[in-house]
């Protein structure tokens, strides 16, 4: 995928973006209580219906073992830990790297970095997880490494695009006023790139929530445990319940990400 595709006025329609915040429909264009609460209410209703339906089912011992509060909450906490820790690492690595790669001195090494990153995008996340488990170890940290490796590109790419699209006259005016290069980066370029970087972070977070589902295969827990447990024991109810919970979590996180994206962007943009 090209680093900087042709500029498209409507950000929703950017042909380069991978994940486009599908939950934004529920939020609408303007901030409102209904916009903020609409999707969570829908998701809560779906989960509520799921549990009501489970209550009417004749659950066996396997189902009971998989679908109790303790089991689900452990899986949930593990899942969130995987997603958030990996996202924090991604931000810590990709944003400074993006800043470095957009400095004039780095221009010659940008094309190879982008080429490697693009090929890396083609590596399946489950493949990275499994290979790390085979050659290193199983558990939390290999899962984190795989998640970081897999979700670093959107943040790196958006940091670079965000910095590159800062209006040149704005930078020139800042330089002309006697701001140092460092001050221009900190006070002008980075704040103006924040919306684009945040969009990348949101994408990375959603990817990480998704990939963390696969962490179950390397014994790192998460909601994938419940789905996998259901598949292994051939219990469709458990598979369905685990999948619904996981999907609801991902949509909720995307929704929160969308709100954060709007809230954290500088005013005036």
């Amino acid at each position: 995928m090209a680093l900087s595709g042709q500029p498209v006025a409507d950000a929703d329609l950017n042909p380069g973006a991978l994940v486009a915040g599908g939950t934004d429909l529920f939020r609408g264009r303007r901030a409102s209580a209904m916009g903020y609460l609409g999707l969570p209410i829908v998701l809560a209703a779906v989960c509520g219906i799921l549990f009501l339906w489970l209550g009417t089912q004749d659950l066996g011992s396997i189902e009971r073992r998989s679908l109790n509060f303790e089991r689900i909450s452990t899986a949930f906490v593990e899942h969130m830990a995987l997603a958030f820790v990996s996202t924090i690492f991604v931000i810590a690595i990709a944003v400074p790297l993006g800043v470095l790669l957009t400095r004039p001195a780095a221009r010659p090494i940008v094309p190879p970095v982008i080429a490697v990153a693009n090929i890396g995008q083609a590596v399946p996340s489950i493949g990275v997880l499994v290979i790390l488990a085979l050659i290193w170890t199983i558990g939390f940290w290999p899962a984190i490494v795989a998640l970081v490796a897999y979700s670093i590109l959107p943040v790196l790419r958006n940091t670079m695009v965000g910095l590159q699209q800062v209006d040149q006259p704005t930078i020139e005016a800042a330089r002309g006023m006697g701001m140092t290069k460092r001050a221009v980066l900190q006070k002008i370029e980075l704040p103006l790139a924040v919306p684009v970087i945040l969009a990348g972070v949101r994408t990375a977070l959603v990817i990480n929530v998704g990939t963390a589902t696969l962490a179950t295969f390397v014994n790192a827990g998460g909601l994938g445990d419940i789905i996998q447990g259901g598949l292994v024991s051939n219990r469709q109810t458990v598979v369905l319940a685990g999948s619904v919970l996981t999907a609801a979590l991902a949509l909720f996180i995307d929704h929160i990400g969308g709100i954060a994206e709007t809230r954290l962007s500088p005013k005036g943009l």
């Binding site: 005016a173 002309g176 006023m177 701001m179 002008i188 103006l192």
Partner: protein
Amino acid sequence: MPDVTTTAASQPTESMISLQDLSKIFPGQPKPAVDSIDMEIPAGEIVILVGPSGCGKTTTMRLINRLIEPTSGRIILEGEDVTKVNPDQLRRRIGYVIQQVGLFPHHTISDNIATVPRMLGWDEKRIRSRVDELLAMVGLDPGTYRDRYPKNLSGGQRQRAGVARALSADPPVMLMDEPFGAIDPITRDRLQNEFLRLQQTIRKTIVFVTHDIDEAIKMGDRIAILREGSKIAQYDTPERILAAPADDFVADFIGAGASLKRLGLTRVRDIELIPWPTAGVDATRTEVLEALRGSDKGAVLILDDQRRPVRWVGGREIQRSDRPLAEIGLPSDAVVQPHATLADALNEMLKSRFGCVAVVDGSGAYMGSVEFGTVSSVIQELRRDARERSRAEADELHAAGAVNA
């Protein structure tokens, strides 16, 4: 600061910026973008750099605040060699306005204006009062615009904010790169006039880049006409450049209408007004005809009791109609004041229904008239003047050459 020990040989006006043998060669380009320019920019004046596109005028301006580092040569600011000083510190002493304005979109207007004062460590109270003062100065109501973001301003308002931001730390020097270039013609004219009025009070040393010779003539105390490589083709007052273009390049650049352009420099008060016959609104028919007969003009200017022009009335209209004088003839709608330029007068003339402009004083009382013939003879005079001056200069040069030989 004036130095008492310097001899009379020093320059008449103290120079604020001095460019000495300044060159810029961009890597990989065969010709220098700026080829050893020497230039003195006097304190308190607007100096225009004008020339065809690609002549290096913007590069030259950006050498002054070292947004582009010179390849060789020196820049002297207020007597201090600033070629090697810290460029960021230097730029805080120089206001900078560009065509695209470059307001920071994520900062409010007041934060934009406060940028340099904050870098200079002013206290917030002083900054706040300075911001309000500047907003008022550039014609933006502080209460309304202080907390707005740039996207909520029109193009003209943004440019005003840009000027306020450049003035924020009261720098002695301002660099302006086509500041009014991206603004619609009507707003541009208003901003230019306002800026000139502002400059009357702030008296900054301004280097102003434009490609528009009319803007240069209007705005400049001095104009440097540049050719390729930022070579100075002529550096002089607008009057002298229009009157005596140094060579064919300059003559071509200012175009065929040079004499006409000078109309924008000559004031109505500088020429002799033509007295037209006048009569009060209450005058009798006989009195009006008497006044008409006593002059070579075809009409009488009717004045009200404050001596303000009301109508132009011709002899035929007086005889044909017996309605009051204030209702016959043509309205005297073309009126200028003495500080108007001849270009303004000519404009009024073309717009009015009676081809003559009445000149009035501050209270609107009639002083005399400007006719097309007056304007045309001024043009003739300007041309003759120009020819003579350039001939005299040629003689002078010739004489100097002879002495040296």
